[in-house]
Symmetry: C2
């Protein structure tokens, strides 16, 4: 391909295997190179073509069936009929925006806010998690009068100019803003029991440094599963401590629930609930519409007051009819099908199963996660030394055997498993069986 | 309502008429105040409730039919069956993202790029026009190595933190970035024949000032119909001159086609075509999916090269299946129904008709526009002194007689008429008749 290579991405297609691809894959790759703009990347050493989805499965054009253990947007499963039906009905009836009065918008907003602690009582809609984080930061800046932002070392929060500036996982060529400081993510495998005390020390230093540079403290932004930091579900007493430090310095705590939200972590609707702390702002996205773009910022009324006094915010599609209809169908289906409990149960089954497999493989140093958001750390044997190459081999071997997962973490060595919430016991058993087979093939003994 | 009032907006509901609203409207207003976050605003002195749309009509819950002469997102008309059918089919088949290979994405991208001059040969998808402008600026910054941005005095380009910083129409409480300079929009009613020379002088001063402050020149960003500057379709030799100045200073020309694109101005697909200049980057949005969130940045390959080398860009929903299916249906329908020619013809009918009405009313100083994007300037009689109050009275009188338009411009005195592209001769005749009636009722003689 004549396009320049982009920066390295965990589990990204590098183009090295281009010549080895089947002709129809090669043709698609060449066509992509001729029309798509900068920055696009594909997954896997051998990219996957998809033409159809159904429940927990994706299909390619030659009829192969893939077990999808990665895609969290379709948290109800691919092509869930409740969403198809709700969107079709709405599209046939009305598609307009929030500058007209509409009861549907209010009905949904009331239902959505009922899933939050009472303090979080207002919602503003956007189309993407990036837009939600961008807006939340504008609101936080107006509220605090400060600009400094604290995130974890390998955090990812989105792709607007504002949000990319506090998303260090985008890599060294995507610079952080001068007003951004990073702290370590928790990593009990390496920190031992001092995680909370260590991170309190780190955040105090970050706060001091932001104040010393005149930025002040605007916001601590974290996702409660620390996804791009390698998925760290514990300790659950950490976020409350960090939030208290930031609030004492005049800042707010923004919980990025774009990945962890809507029941994924198996304990209530929102990931921060596991941590027993109530944020000042919360951002939502990906699974909110099961494939229809819809996202939101939820906040305490008083946090939004100053922004509302100064600035109007109109997002043409944010809160428009079709996204809201899709989101209402998703909310209703999560409740009707008991998907939060399912995430808890099937997640526990998977965690037990992966732990059993790991006990046979000294390269699998840790199995962790919450609900259906799991990480398996691949290292040198009986060590905490990350092994990214081996992790990629596992991901690729699973892909060749029709199971889709990916990898994450600052060292790219943590297998990331995040199936649709409708995964059942048989799907989990199949995933475990295939994973055990891949581990046996790929991991040195 | 207990919520604080936001900043003033042209044709915004102020709350003053709350007590006079019917009970079910008042109830909706109160519910909005209790759940929606900061920044939301409604249109009109008496807000409009909508429950259903069909073609060029919107309906409220008491069965009133409104002629929609304002909503450009549904440029095929409300609830066009081609979009309903395409989206339903796609939702039932597959909703995933650009990290998997998919022929549909490439098929559509090739069709879309074929509507552009050959130099504009790459496309990156986002969900909103704001995201597209945000991304385009990141790309332009990487390409030029500069940060300075030039926009028109009352420009609007979107709501991310980055883009709000160069959207002066958001008002004085939403500050412009230190790297942003404004120039006048063309205004032949007031400039006379010296518009091009005057603006060349202004842009040269802006360029000098950006260089003097060390920002350099990154981009000139304009929408080719100058929508929030009051809709200025002429002179058509201006943008080429401004683009040449910016390019000579090392910057690029970004055409914001979020409002003017997809045939709205009645001469080819893109508004910049009327100006006979080829931009370096183009952003698309609103009508692209007829109600499904989808947007894009189109660019010259070499302009994206440096960004692609440094940064990856992944927008979960941008370029995902459902938005692309909707966009393909829109593109196909614009072609199949000859909507660009229709915009040209019906636009001309409207312009003639409004000019005839204006000739009876000394307060209607100018009728202008291109295709189905029209502005009627309301002033003191036989004068160029803007009369915002009278313009609002006209907009509100039309709304009370079931015709939806709005107002725009730095003084809020330009009636903004922007109906769906499927407006036919009878719709236009009805709009003209109602407008003449409102003018007779509202305008002093």
């Amino acid at each position: 391909m004549s396009r320049p290579r982009g920066p390295e991405m965990v589990n990204g297609f590098t183009g090295a295997s281009l010549a080895a691809q089947p002709p129809h894959i090669r043709e698609l790759l060449i066509r992509r190179g001729k029309v798509l703009g900068p920055g696009y990347q594909l997954f896997y050493t051998n990219p996957v073509e998809v033409v159809r989805g159904d429940g927990v499965h994706l299909y390619d054009s030659t009829g192969n069936e893939y077990l999808d253990a990665y895609n969290n947007v379709v948290s109800l499963g691919h092509c869930h009929p409740a969403v198809v039906e709700a969107v079709t009905r709405q599209l046939s009836k009305l598609t307009t925006n929030t500058r007209y009065l509409q009861a549907d918008l209010l009905d949904f907003s009331e239902r959505l806010l009922a899933t939050f602690p009472a303090e979080l009582d207002r919602v503003t809609y956007t189309c993407t998690g990036s837009e939600a984080n961008d807006l939340a930061l504008r609101i936080a800046r107006a509220h605090t009068g400060n600009t400094g932002i604290i995130v974890t070392r390998n955090a990812y929060h989105g792709v607007t100019a504002e949000v990319a500036a506090f998303s260090p996982s985008l890599g060294p060529s995507s610079p952080l803003g001068p007003h951004v400081r990073t702290i370590s993510a928790p990593d009990p495998l390496r920190h031992g029991t001092s995680v909370v005390a260590d991170l309190r020390t780190e955040i105090r230093a970050a706060i001091d440094d932001l104040q010393r540079h005149g930025f002040g403290v605007c916001a601590l932004v974290v996702d409660s599963i620390f996804s791009s930091d390698g998925m760290q579900p514990v300790p659950t007493d950490l976020l409350g401590v960090l939030a208290a430090e930031v609030r004492a310095a005049g800042g707010v705590y923004l919980a990025d629930e774009v990945q962890a939200g809507f029941g994924r972590t198996g304990t209530g609707w929102w990931g921060f609930g596991r941590h027993e702390v109530v944020p000042d702002l919360v951002t939502l996205g990906k699974p909110m519409g099961n494939g229809i773009p819809v996202a939101a910022a939820v906040l305490r009324n008083e946090v939004g007051r100053e922004f509302g006094r100064k600035v109007r915010y109109f997002n043409t599609f944010g809160g428009s009819n079709v996204p809201i209809a899709a989101a209402a169908a998703v909310l209703g289906t999560i409740e009707a099908e008991g998907l939060i409990d399912n995430a808890h149960e099937i997640g526990a089954q998977l965690k037990r199963g992966f732990a059993r497999i790991a006990s046979d493989h000294p390269h699998l140093a840790d199995v962790r996660g919450a609900g259906l958001f799991l990480g398996i750390e691949v290292t040198a044997p009986e060590s905490t030394e990350p092994d990214r190459v081996l992790a990629q081999s596992l991901v690729d071997d699973l892909r060749e055997h029709f199971v889709l997962v990916s990898a994450s973490g600052p060292h790219g060595n943590v297998i990331k498993i995040r199936p649709p919430l409708v995964f059942d016991a048989a799907d989990a058993a199949l995933l475990l069986e295939r994973f055990a087979d891949s581990a046996a093939r790929v991991l040195p003994t």
